[in-house]
């Protein structure tokens, strides 16, 4: 359980959580630079703090696109940055995660109970693994 709580935000119309300790920055919308002939999950590239950061394609987690992202959340794991698109960020306090629903496949570590209800929590290790970022 992260000591620093969770960041909860909307991604392609659904609410997701991720451990706040993995969040490096939250910034306003900047259009990623498209990278031709890239992997399907790459929305584009951002440059920040002397680094080229890949951006996870909008809606990749759910298989749908929304086109409504307003913020970019840059997460860091094992020295690798990844940018996620979303909107409406807010913090949620720490709490135990409950097991995932069986029908929700993906890089999730469990469900977080938030004021808005049950929210799936991203497991960045699993996400990086599925993207080949390891």
């Amino acid at each position: 359980m992260p000591d620093s709580g969770y960041l909860v935000f909307s991604s392609a119309g659904r609410t997701v959580a991720l451990p706040a300790e993995s969040v490096r920055t939250i910034q306003g919308w900047t259009s990623p630079k498209a990278l031709p002939r890239c992997a399907p999950w790459v929305e584009g590239i951002l440059v920040g703090q002397g680094e080229a950061v890949p951006v996870l394609r909008d809606g990749h987690l759910w298989g749908v696109r929304s086109g409504t992202a307003e913020i970019i959340v840059v997460v860091l794991r094992e020295g690798r940055n990844l940018a996620l698109l979303g909107k409406d960020p807010q913090m949620a306090s720490s709490g135990p995660l409950s097991p995932m629903e069986k029908d929700l496949d993906g890089p999730w570590s469990g469900m977080l109970w938030d004021s808005s209800g049950e929210v799936p929590c991203l497991d960045l290790g699993k996400l990086y693994m599925t993207l080949g970022l390891h």
Binding site: K33, C38, I45, A52, L133
Partner: protein
């Protein structure tokens, strides 16, 4: 000392960057050998899946490696044109051969640095 770069214009405003030491010759349209080399050149727009810009003059790029490319235009890095190189990980290209090994960023400039061997 950082290398001088040659910027190749592709698509409608995208730039690819190649170290100038990798370039053997650049043939502009109208050069005597242009048509002969253009016939066997790899069109970078086709390779990248980008629409061409009809307003670009078109250049043939002869590389020291023996590769021959076609681009919209070619521009040498200016003396005051400071850029920084940022590496890109090959995982961003999944199963495709990574044609890009990094980006050059500077004041208003963004260019993809080409991994020449992967452009074929």
């Amino acid at each position: 000392m950082s290398p001088a770069w040659v910027f190749l214009l592709v698509g409608t405003g995208e730039e690819l960057a190649v170290p100038h030491t990798s370039i053997y010759r650049i043939l502009h349209r109208g050069a005597p050998e242009f048509s002969a080399y253009a016939a066997g050149a790899l069109d970078l727009n086709d390779f990248l899946g980008l629409p061409g810009d009809p307003s670009c003059p078109g250049v043939v790029v002869l590389l020291a490696s023996g590769q021959i490319w076609m681009a919209g235009n070619a521009v040498m890095q200016g003396a005051g044109d400071q850029v920084s190189y940022l590496a890109l990980r090959p995982e961003l290209f999944a199963n495709a051969r990574p044609w890009c090994r990094g980006v050059l960023v500077g004041k208003g400039r963004w260019a993809f640095v080409v991994e020449e061997a992967a452009v074929a």
